[in-house]
């Protein structure tokens, strides 16, 4: 289980998260809702071990996270994948789509064949894989980001508003692909969005719950 307890995050004097806790169970889709600016993305970065909270505790399958960002052991980092809200900012503009997807595999000194398979499953043709981010649409780029997040077969996938601004068919395709991965691997998914209808549809099949961040812990 991916569990955060009493997470406190402040940006300067502005407290963004005041003692928030959340649990993401393996095999389930947990929903996280809340209005813009309430700290959903901040919590996502804490759960992905990218942001050290001022206080609180994070555990991944019972393992205490004591270090953050680069200092987290690589194996532990690979357990939690984060899909960002804006794919255009989440990819190196100098990379081709294949580089984007294969980078985690290359960093782990593994074959990139799995990246090609994932790209194919995401509907990215070989021709698209040779293009750079500014030569493809947001939807195609987000497909590459989803493929990248799955290359290391994470135990938990955090989707931070990943379907915002995407058309309905791309949205449905991305959710379906993540659902297939969840069912096949037993991974836990944290779906963060302020689209209540999507959350209900997404969390329903797995029997997961929906949490509202603003109700959990109002910022002090």
């Amino acid at each position: 289980m991916l569990r955060a307890e009493g997470v406190v995050v402040s940006y300067g004097r502005q407290r963004v998260l005041g003692g928030v806790g959340i649990e993401v169970s393996p095999g389930q889709v947990t929903g996280l809702a809340g209005p813009s600016g309430c700290g959903k993305s901040t919590l996502a970065r804490v759960l992905a071990m990218l942001l050290k909270p001022a206080a609180g505790r994070l555990t991944v399958d019972g393992v205490d996270v004591r270090r953050w960002r680069h200092r987290v052991p690589r194996e532990l980092r690979g357990q939690v994948a984060l899909i960002f809200q804006q794919p255009r900012l989440a990819v190196d503009p100098r990379f081709t789509l294949l580089d984007v997807i294969a980078e985690p595999l290359r960093a782990a000194h593994r074959s990139i064949e799995h990246a090609r398979e994932l790209a194919e499953e995401m509907g990215l043709t070989p021709e698209l894989l040779s293009r750079r981010p500014h030569e493809v649409s947001d939807g195609q780029l987000q497909r590459a980001c989803v493929a990248r997040s799955l290359t290391l077969r994470p135990r938990y996938v955090i989707c931070d508003e990943m379907t915002t601004m995407l058309d309905a068919s791309t949205q449905a395709h991305l959710v379906a692909r993540l659902e297939a991965y969840r069912l096949e691997s037993g991974a836990g998914v944290l779906a963060i969005t302020h689209d209540d209808e999507l959350l209900i549809r997404w969390t329903g099949p797995s029997g997961g719950s929906i949490r509202h961040l603003s109700e959990m812990a109002p910022a002090a």
Binding site: A48, Q86, L89, R94
Partner: protein, 284 residues
């Protein structure tokens, strides 16, 4: 309207600066080829031909001891270009390593490196350069060391600020999340983004180094006074300026001014060209 103006500026910035390229190529060809065909005897003086104005025999005239200004200016530019290139490579290498270490590591190391940069910056460059060359006998190496040690801070600041910007970009977060170690992020994400800035800093450092070398030579602290260097020539020419011999300092001055402008124009074009989005549009 605004779009049209912006578009016009963009188009003009993307146009290849042919004049600058031709100027630079001609000067570099002169620096490389002229010494092969016309040897300069640095000791030779000809008082019968002293202070002759520009003519067909001496296109840039002669100086107060009868030496051909054109030939000496070409030899002087050769020294300046060598010093400029060597100093630019050394200073930008030091600056890049310092800036990368400061920006990528952050924390105490960042503060320490930046205080060292502040320390070097707090001393006037020329004064510090004079102190360094005073430690050595006058030579090209002393001038290169002087220029490099007084100019690495600019590259360090540029690289550090770029790394700090890159560090905050979500794609670096994605790389960390994907298991990349710090060195890999430096190699795969930081350096490719930094190379245009580093190259630009290096290229712009060349005229700066030429100016610094000229200033040291002008003050009599660069190369030995009898050797042809642009600084020495301007210094010599300045003495005869009141006698109306304008050519002895003007032409060496132009040999500094023209490559400076040409390099700046080409560096600007290259920086714009290295932007992947524009490069892609240019290929369409």
């Amino acid at each position: 309207m605004a779009t049209g103006v912006a578009g016009g500026l963009t188009r003009s910035r993307r146009r290849f600066p042919r004049g600058a390229a031709v100027t630079l190529v001609l000067l570099l060809l002169a620096v490389v080829l002229v010494p092969l065909f016309a040897r300069l005897d640095q000791q030779l003086v000809d008082l019968h031909a002293a202070s002759l104005p520009p003519s067909l025999r001496h296109p840039f005239g002669t100086d107060e001891v009868g030496r051909d200004v054109l030939l000496r200016a070409v030899y002087g530019l050769r020294v300046s270009v060598l010093v400029g290139l060597a100093a630019a490579v050394v200073s930008v290498t030091i600056g890049t390593l310092a800036g990368l270490a400061a920006g990528a590591a952050g924390g105490t190391l960042d503060r320490l490196i930046m205080r060292i940069v502040d320390g070097f910056n707090s001393v006037p460059h020329l004064l510090f350069g004079i102190f360094i060359v005073a430690l050595f006998t006058p030579s090209t190496t002393a001038v290169v060391v002087s220029v490099a040690l007084t100019h690495w801070m600019t590259a360090a600041r540029i690289v550090r600020s770029e790394v700090l910007t890159l560090r905050a970009r979500p794609f670096v977060d994605a790389a960390i999340s994907g298991g990349s170690r710090r060195l890999r992020i430096v190699r795969r994400h930081f350096l490719p983004h930094l190379i245009p800035h580093i190259m630009l800093a290096a290229v712009l450092m060349i005229p700066h180094a030429i100016w610094h070398e000229t200033a040291l030579s002008f003050l009599g602290l660069g190369l030995p006074a009898h050797l042809a260097s642009l600084g020495n020539m301007i210094n010599d020419g300045a003495r005869s300026l009141l006698a109306g011999n304008w050519w002895a300092s003007l032409f060496p001055g132009l040999f500094i001014f023209l490559p400076t402008l040409a390099i700046s124009a080409l560096a600007q074009y290259w920086r714009d060209r290295s932007n992947p989005r524009w490069r892609s549009e240019l290929q369409l």
